[in-house]
């Protein structure tokens, strides 16, 4: 479907992407996650063909049919939903009768049908993203690249966007999607984790979680003691990470029982602090820790 051979990108003196090589062979949803400035957008633009690589080669093995939704809204705001769809359909060589049918179908699927005459500029964030995705898949591409399509979208619309993405996959289109909302990564078949222009991991989301070497302890209702405990816990060699999440305190560690004991001891002296419970690792924990370790390796 897509092969990247030693592909890199340099902007002036800034190496936005270190040479990467991989291929997408199976149909599926591929997620790209990583902190800001990790090179996600550069990688996606290269995959979509919106950017020429500084070195290496991008090979689209399924032909040139690609759909792309850039990070910034790339539709014509002074044209209606229907006009945008027709224009891109024409550009992509979708014949008129088929185009009509396909546009109706996509408008229904995205829930945009009642607004087809509305100018794209007058749409809400969620509707804009749905229009962008509908436009990108109108010509039934083999590969569609979506750059943070759930960014700035309310939770309900985010859910709808993911449903549309899954329906696109059912049509036989492989999806590459970057996202800041890490829970979305769980919906992918495979995830590329990026950091500082490098791909530092490529696994299925379940593998990322199952191979996570840390246990997660949560101290419930630790609101009053968080400030006091956090510096101390972070200095503990057995603890990899400690952070506050709402009123809870989250601790990542390798030595499960020892750390539990330590937390229980601390808790016993305090009134109002809730129980210490184990939780499965979240994607946020997994990716954040992986990035930190990569940073540690680099500085070492």
């Amino acid at each position: 479907m897509l092969e990247m051979k030693e592909v890199s990108k340099v902007y002036g003196r800034h190496q936005a992407l270190q040479p990467v090589s991989f291929s997408l062979e199976k149909e599926g949803i591929y997620g790209v996650v990583g902190p800001d400035g990790a090179g996600k957008t550069t990688l996606l633009r290269l995959m979509a063909g919106a950017l020429r690589p500084s070195s290496g080669e991008v090979i689209h093995t399924t032909g040139a049919k690609i759909g792309y939704v850039p990070q910034t809204f790339g539709m014509y705001e002074d044209m209606s939903i229907a006009e945008n769809l027709h224009f891109y359909g024409q550009l992509n060589g979708v014949p008129a009768p088929e185009r009509e049918k396909r546009i109706r179908e996509l408008l229904d699927r995205t829930g945009l049908a009642p607004f087809s005459d509305r100018l794209a500029g007058a749409l809400s964030g969620g509707m804009k993203q749905k229009l962008a995705i509908a436009t990108a898949v109108l010509h039934r591409p083999g590969l569609v690249v979506l750059d943070e399509p759930t960014n700035g979208v309310d939770p309900v619309s985010r859910q709808e966007v993911w449903e549309i993405v899954r329906s696109v996959l059912r049509e036989g289109t492989t999806v590459v999607i970057s996202t800041q909302y890490l829970e979305g990564a769980g919906l992918c078949d495979e995830v590329f984790l990026m950091h500082q222009g490098r791909i530092i991991g490529r696994k299925s989301p379940s593998a990322f979680v199952s191979e996570f070497p840390y246990h997660v302890w949560v101290v419930r209702d630790a609101g009053s003691v968080r400030v006091e405990w956090l510096p101390r816990l972070r200095q503990e060699p057995a603890i990899a990470e400690a952070y506050a999440r709402g009123t809870d305190l989250v601790v990542l560690c390798r030595e499960k029982e020892r750390v539990k004991e330590m937390l229980e001891t601390l808790r016993r002296d305090r009134e109002g602090v809730g129980p210490v419970e184990e939780e499965p690792a979240s994607y946020e924990d997994v990716f954040t820790q992986a990035v930190k370790e990569a940073e540690g390796r680099e500085s070492a």
């Binding site: 979509a48 063909g49 919106a50 792309y68 850039p70 790339g74 002074d78 044209m79 224009f87 024409q90």
Partner: protein
């Protein structure tokens, strides 16, 4: 390929239809310029307001004022007491010209102190120039008339001098001779002699007059025979409209192309186009074609209004002129495209477009003649495409020449069109990557 370009062109027109401001600018700008340059920008002043400080108050000063008042373009508003008042009316802009007649003013002065003084407001350059030109013409006519009068007076005086009352019979010798004659014969003799002498004197005078007249200047012939070709009434509008055709073409196309492409870049839509199967050449053509067509409509609009409404003669052939205009148009499109490749946003594109267009407006010879520019500036003019289009346009419009008579400007326009389009296309393709 044509289907994709067609889709781009349709999309551009659809957007233009929605973007009323841009559309209005593209249609209204030429109309506003037509009105401005056709009616307003006129170096010919129609009414020149005159005041006078008449210290002479003699026949000559009155005669000059009468003559000036009689001229169509002059209106003599009144007399002023002194130079201070003259300065005031010029300052207040209630007068265009003040005439100061010194004491003892003469139409044909002999001394400096008898000369007329004229004051004009140099801060209003064109009014001052026009007023001075016109007033000199009137003064020349007045002096011409004075010379005619003077000539007549001399002739009359000479005639009077030719018939002196001759007391020849009072001479002692003549009296002795007459006494020796019978009285009747003497009377006849003296009459005869007087007549002969008078005739002789008259003959001599006539000969001298003839000699003098040959030497005497002939005021009627002092003005050269002026034959103004191509624009006999020296109307500004006939000079402006052929240039305006070029100005409209270059402004509309350069500005609109630059802004149109940068807008796609700025709004992120260009990236979508790049990912589509649209090739870069198709993208360029799809973007340029609509502006090309609109510029063509503007061209025809200015041309037709110029010829029909402002009566600018079009003496050349239309088709060759249209072809040269298209060549120029292609160059302008290329310039717009080039600007779009070096601009990141519409503001930058606008600034760059203005930076390239305004000097062309000033330095191309559209308003001010190239010949009046110093060399340091003139070479800048020679870098500008409009400098080469304007002489061709004026030549075809007013002189009825063929564009082929302008080989060098034509070659330069062709070179510009070729270079701009090639460089801009290459840069554009590279910027897409």
């Amino acid at each position: 390929m044509f289907r994709r370009i067609g889709a781009m062109v349709r999309k551009e027109f659809l957007q233009l239809r929605r973007d009323k401001r841009t559309l209005a600018m593209m249609i209204l700008l030429p109309v506003i310029w037509l009105i401005a340059f056709g009616y307003a920008v006129n170096f010919d002043i129609n009414t020149i307001r005159v005041y006078a400080v008449d210290r002479a108050a003699n026949d000559d000063s009155r005669e000059v004022l009468k003559e000036i008042d009689g001229e169509e373009k002059f209106v003599v508003y009144g007399k002023l007491k002194n130079e201070q008042e003259a300065k005031k009316v010029l300052e207040e802009n209630t007068a265009d010209v003040v005439l100061i007649f010194p004491e003892g003013y003469r139409r044909m002065p002999q001394k400096d102190s008898e000369k007329l003084r004229i004051q004009v407001d140099g801060s209003r350059l064109f009014t001052a120039q026009s007023a001075l030109r016109k007033i000199n013409e009137v003064l020349f006519d007045v002096q011409k008339k004075s010379m005619d009068d003077m000539k007549q007076e001399i002739q009359d005086r000479m005639k009077q001098g030719a018939a002196p009352e001759m007391g020849i019979q009072d001479q002692p010798q003549m009296q002795a001779l007459l006494r020796s004659m019978p009285p009747e014969r003497a009377q006849a003799f003296i009459e005869d002699l007087k007549k002969t002498m008078k005739e002789q004197a008259q003959k001599q005078m006539d000969e001298r007059w003839k000699e003098m007249e040959n030497e005497f200047p002939r005021p009627g012939l002092m003005k050269p025979e002026v034959d103004v070709l191509y624009n006999p009434d020296l109307k500004s509008v006939q000079y402006m409209i052929p240039g305006l055709v070029g100005l409209v073409l270059i402004f509309i196309t350069t500005l609109m192309t630059a802004l149109g492409i940068v807008r796609e870049k700025e709004r992120g839509t260009l990236e979508q186009l790049v990912v589509s199967p649209l090739r870069s050449m198709e993208l360029i053509l799809g973007k340029l074609l609509p502006y090309f067509l609109i510029a063509l409509v503007d061209f025809l609009l200015v041309f037709l209004v110029g010829v029909r409404v402002f009566d600018v003669p079009f003496r050349g052939d239309f088709l060759p002129f249209l072809l040269v205009s298209l060549l120029f148009l292609i160059g302008s499109l290329g310039m717009g495209l080039l600007i779009s490749t070096v601009s990141q946003n519409q503001q930058q594109a606008m600034q760059l477009a203005v930076l390239t267009l305004v000097p062309q407006f000033i330095l191309s010879g559209f308003v001010f003649p190239l010949e009046a520019m110093p060399w340091g500036i003139r070479w800048l003019s020679y870098l500008m495409p409009l400098t080469y289009f304007i002489p061709v346009s004026r030549g075809v419009f007013l002189k009825g020449l063929s564009p082929l008579d302008y080989t060098l400007p034509l070659a330069v326009l062709g070179l510009y069109a070729f270079l701009f389009i090639i460089i801009a296309s290459v840069r554009f393709r590279r910027s897409l990557a």
